[in-house]
């Protein structure tokens, strides 16, 4: 146990090229996923919070339910879409980082959208009359609410980043865990643990935990700063 731990620290301290490559790919996939999911999820969640339309309740329930979407199910669906016989098979995206980003975006969008809807809906109750008195359109209201809730929405984006970084099922299915190409931290940990290479698993696990902790610490301090500055 101690030897495993020491070897894991050694891999990290000498910046082992395999570890660095895996961490770097994980970071790129997570960043692309969160960027895409934020661009889709924030406005969509805010729109559901503010707009009145038939079936709004059903959309809200659906969004909330999709937060718990099993990642392997998403993996299989995206696999079918991108496989040779699927509608986008000709694009040759299966077993590529792009496929991993696509699958993770499907997983993360409902999470960000559902949390955004909740945060923005609470704010909307406070602002609705004031915005109507200023003759705001739906677009103006959504933009103003997203801006006003920006520090709370960091939590939604962060939850998306956490899900993306820790997700294993979908990226395993559509990425294939190909060494040096689609192997990310979670798939590498699963594989190396099965192979008995515990030092590498442990080293990657430590990086993963540190990343998640750093993200949350940053968000915590951002909120503190915002509360002091804006009340």
């Amino acid at each position: 146990m101690l030897n495993t731990l020491l070897e894991a620290f050694s891999l990290l301290s000498r910046l082992d090229s395999q570890v660095v490559a895996i961490v770097w790919l994980s970071f790129k996939v997570a960043l692309a996923t969160v960027t895409l999911a934020t661009l889709i999820g924030l406005p969509f969640g805010a729109l559901v919070a503010v707009a009145s339309f038939p079936g709004r309740g059903a959309v809200t329930v659906f969004l909330n339910a999709m937060m718990g979407l099993p990642s392997v199910v998403v993996g299989v669906i995206v696999y079918l879409i991108l496989s040779r016989s699927g509608p986008f098979g000709d694009m040759g995206l299966l077993y590529s980082p792009t496929a991993m980003v696509m699958a993770q975006t499907v997983l993360v969008v409902p999470l960000i959208a559902a949390l955004t809807r909740q945060i923005v809906e609470d704010a909307w109750r406070t602002y609705a009359t004031e915005f109507r008195s200023m003759h705001f359109s739906l677009r103006h209201s959504v933009a103003a609410l997203l801006y006003d809730c920006r520090y709370s929405l960091v939590v939604a984006v962060l939850a998306g980043a956490g899900r993306s970084l820790s997700e294993v099922g979908a990226v395993m299915i559509v990425g294939g865990n190909i060494e040096g190409y689609t192997r990310v931290m979670t798939t590498a940990i699963a594989l190396e643990t099965a192979k008995g290479d515990l030092p590498l698993s442990l080293a990657l696990g430590m990086v993963l935990l540190t990343l998640v902790l750093l993200l949350n610490t940053g968000a915590y301090h951002l909120r503190l700063w915002a509360m002091r500055k804006y009340g």
Binding site: T129, E130, S133, D148, Y230
Partner: protein, 239 residues
């Protein structure tokens, strides 16, 4: 001039009468103050005039239109300010106008100067004092250059000094050519600031008169009692 005509307005949520048989023409320049006891329907009447509440019966005509126009602005008793700078909040009402960035900035800064908040433009709006928040809300409405400005008890939570500043701004907005309708509980303020008074009680317009005449010779018994500080409404409620 921004005429509004309210004809036979009735507002009865859940069968409870808040307003009934209200006829009101707002067609002259100046400041009209709506006074009356708590629960008389002042705020609801103002919201109906702003188009924020739909009456259950009756008709409203905004400058010849059935829908409220962008020429109306409203300031609430407790204005809601975004978590942002004073400058950003002051210019918020200009978003639907589609002004150029430069024009919106110029108009916002000009209005902030007129309410005495230009030096705080970069500060956080939510950290302002009560009086400053109300001045900012007035600036936000004034920047929209409304033809009609509706003020719902804008000084209810302010001390006399802050009230005096707000009253000065309201007068200046009026001098700018904006028609003002406001509600207040403060009879002294109504006397100081208004050109005419609408006295509302139990959801009805009991009396409307020029300010000096209303306070010197109120026509109705209810208005007389209200000015004297007596509360027949509470007595009837208790009974």
């Amino acid at each position: 001039m921004f005429p509004i005509q309210l004809s036979n307005i009735r507002f009865t949520p859940d069968g409870r009468t808040v307003l009934t048989g209200v006829d009101l023409d707002i067609d002259a320049e100046g400041i009209t103050v709506i006074i009356g006891p708590n629960g008389a329907g002042k705020t609801v009447l103002l919201r109906i005039m702003a188009g924020l509440q739909t009456p259950h019966d009756g008709a409203i005509n905004w400058n010849g239109d059935d829908n409220p126009a962008t020429g109306i602005a409203m300031v609430f008793q407790h204005p809601v300010l975004l978590r942002s700078s004073v400058f950003h909040n002051a210019g918020l009402g200009l978003k639907p106008f589609g002004l150029s960035r430069a024009e919106a900035k110029r108009r916002t800064l000009q209005t902030l100067e007129r309410v005495g908040l230009a030096h705080r433009a970069e500060d956080s709006a939510r950290l302002l004092s009560g009086g400053e928040r109300q001045r900012l809300a007035l600036a936000r409405a004034w920047a929209m250059r409304p033809q009609l400005l509706l003020l719902d008890e804008p000084t209810a939570a302010l001390d006399p000094s802050a009230t005096d500043v707000v009253e000065g701004i309201v007068r200046e907005i009026r001098t700018d050519g904006t028609r003002i309708v406001m509600t207040t509980h403060n009879l002294g303020q109504a006397m100081r600031i208004s050109d005419d008074i609408v006295f509302l009680a139990n959801g009805r317009v009991i009396e409307r008169a020029p300010t000096s005449r209303f306070f010197a010779r109120p026509q109705s018994n209810e208005a007389k009692l209200f000015i004297q500080g007596e509360l027949p409404w509470r007595i009837s409620f208790d009974n």
